[in-house]
């Protein structure tokens, strides 16, 4: 699947601008971004629910705008709110979803059973969807998206509102889907992306600000801060001098976060200084930047480098 230069505006509000993405077979791509970053808009455009103002989407070489039915047959979509008919039973609903996706009548029963066992719904076939718990409803939503064995599965915030156990189950389900389908997944939870995805794109205000493998993201997050805890801390300025004119933030009385100037690793110098001055070092770790910090960093860097955004995320 690939999308090139998708844009969509609502009036003067740019919901997505120049979003491009590429998904290879058997890959899990994470779309990450804060609320209102344009994730849902992008996904709606990818699934043909929303016509882009500009740009093209192709699924397995089929243009979504020219041949919507052929392209949509290859996509499974779970929107933010699962599209469930509460008055139907799980079996009835999945049969309907299967029929809508042009599964032949003879193959329908097998498809429903296979999908149910895959999503852990085998005992729920006779239950009314309205009477299921949220976790199970979410599974029915996922089942609906995969019943026709689509090449591409698009999941919009699949773990929102679930309890930790359910989140774990859904995540492992998604990971298992990733082995023979391609998956695009949106979320605003960074660890989720790290747990499931192979690649990640970060959206901010409707634009892609970061696109890299998950390893790249980890490096990006980890490489910028050093967290130090000292029993007998010196003033922050002294730490800054030791680390070679780095930026130092005091987290609390004994904890500091150090942001080294580019390309330098002050760890060595810092440990030596701690021993020398008897500061009582008891913790030293690379601090993972939170999602907000990643955003701040990405957007600031973007502002600094504008308009040369080619360098981002390599």
């Amino acid at each position: 699947m690939s999308a090139v230069a998708l844009s969509r505006s609502y009036g003067s509000n740019r919901a997505a601008h120049d979003v491009s993405l590429e998904l290879r077979r058997g890959e899990v791509l994470g779309l990450l971004g804060p609320n209102g970053a344009g994730k849902t808009t992008t996904m709606q455009m990818l699934t043909g629910n929303l016509a882009p103002s500009a740009g093209t989407v192709t699924v397995c070489g089929i243009d979504l705008i020219d041949r919507p039915t052929a392209a949509k047959a290859r996509i499974g979509y779970l929107p933010e709110v699962p599209p469930l008919y509460r008055e139907l039973r799980v079996d009835e609903y999945l049969r309907l979803a299967g029929r809508l996706h042009k599964i032949r009548k003879s193959a329908l029963h097998a498809a429903v059973e296979r999908t149910k066992s895959r999503c852990g719904l085998s005992d729920m076939g006779r239950r009314l969807i309205g009477s299921l718990s949220k976790g199970y409803q979410q599974r029915v939503g996922i089942a609906q998206a995969i019943i026709h064995e689509p090449e591409v599965i698009i999941l919009d915030e699949p773990t929102v509102g679930l309890d930790p156990n359910q989140i774990r189950e859904i995540r492992s389900l998604i990971r298992s889907l990733g082995s023979d389908h391609s998956v695009i997944l949106s979320t605003h939870i960074l660890p989720e992306v790290e747990a499931i995805c192979d690649r990640v794109q970060i959206l901010h205000r409707g634009e892609v600000v970061f696109s890299d493998s998950i390893g790249g993201l980890r490096q990006f997050r980890g490489g910028h801060w050093l967290q130090v805890a000292l029993h007998r801390p010196p003033p922050a300025e002294e730490l800054a001098t030791v680390c070679g004119s780095a930026e130092v933030q005091q987290v609390n009385a004994s904890m500091f976060r150090i942001k080294p100037s580019d390309g330098e690793d002050p760890t060595d110098a810092l440990v030596r200084a701690c021993v020398e001055h008897d500061w009582g070092l008891y913790q030293l770790q690379p601090a993972h930047a939170s999602l907000e910090e990643v955003f701040v960093h990405l957007t600031q860097r973007e502002a600094d480098e504008a308009p040369g955004r080619e360098g981002v995320g390599t």
């Binding site: 609502y10 709606q44 699934t47 043909g48 629910n49 929303l50 016509a51 919507p68 039915t69 052929a70 392209a71 949509k72 047959a73 996509i75 979509y77 929107p79 709110v81 599209p83 469930l84 008919y85 509460r86 008055e87 139907l88 009835e92 309907l96 979803a97 029929r99 809508l100 996706h101 042009k102 609906q144």
Partner: protein, 247 residues
């Protein structure tokens, strides 16, 4: 695919009490009128015999039921059509249909067909009552056929208009009130037109239905209803397509 969608729609309809309540309510009214008219026929039967060309059982007992049905359906079809699109939007289930490899035309036709199916059930119930008179009297089958065709076309136009109005909003209640207003408007639009040549008579639903109740199936009336239905179905499809563009 259209039939899959229609079957789903009918299943949803009958899964909620609304369809059952409407059916029961309609049947109660029709049966009540029917009973009263049969009773009336029996009391005046003696006098009728003395007339040179007396109206028959069908004219007195069955035709009025169709007349009442036309108006009662005008009031109740909006209740059924209100949820067709509006509720799917509100429950965000429209996405399932929009992301499936199904065209907008199929979605709209499927929903329309489901409504026609439901109205067919209503018609069957009326027919069952009317034809029960075959057991003990003479029934004018031609007149019943004309009335049935007329009622079906009329009710289908209600459904098409209701479907379109349901596409305009995501609040079912608004859809119901709005379609009722539109239908009533089309029903009585010619009430103030005293000139028999007035073009308002052409658009009036009542006017075109009246010839069917008289027992004649005129091409003009057939064309009127078919065009009306087609127009609102096309409008619904256009409206839903525009949704995707504007959202």
């Amino acid at each position: 695919m259209i039939f899959t969608l229609a079957a789903k729609e009918l299943r949803s309809m009958f899964a909620s009490p609304l369809a059952w309540v409407v059916l029961a309510f309609l049947q109660l009214i029709f049966a009540w009128i029917f009973l009263a008219r049969v009773d009336y026929f029996l009391t005046i039967q003696g006098q009728l015999a003395r007339l040179p060309n007396p109206p028959g059982l069908t004219d007195i007992a069955i035709a009025p039921v169709f007349g009442v049905a036309s108006f009662v359906l005008l009031m109740s079809v909006p209740l059924l059509t209100m949820r067709l699109i509006a509720e799917e939007r509100r429950n965000q289930t429209m996405t399932l249909l929009m992301s499936a490899p199904v065209s907008m035309t199929e979605i709209v036709l499927g929903k329309f067909l489901a409504m026609v199916g439901f109205l067919g059930i209503v018609l069957l119930l009326i027919l069952a009552m009317g034809l029960s008179l075959l057991a003990g009297g003479e029934v004018d089958l031609g007149l019943i056929a004309a009335n049935s065709v007329g009622l079906m076309l009329l009710a289908s136009s209600f459904a098409a208009i209701g479907l379109f109005v349901s596409c305009l909003t995501n609040l079912p209640v608004v859809a119901a009130v709005l379609s009722l207003a539109v239908l009533l408007g089309l029903w009585i639009v010619n009430i103030a037109a005293s000139d028999p040549q007035s073009p308002l008579h052409v658009v009036s639903l009542l006017r075109h239905f009246e010839s069917f109740t008289g027992g004649s199936i005129a091409v003009v009336d057939l064309v009127y209803f078919v065009v009306l239905i087609a127009l609102f179905i096309v409008l619904s499809i256009r409206r839903l397509d525009a949704d995707r563009l504007r959202a």
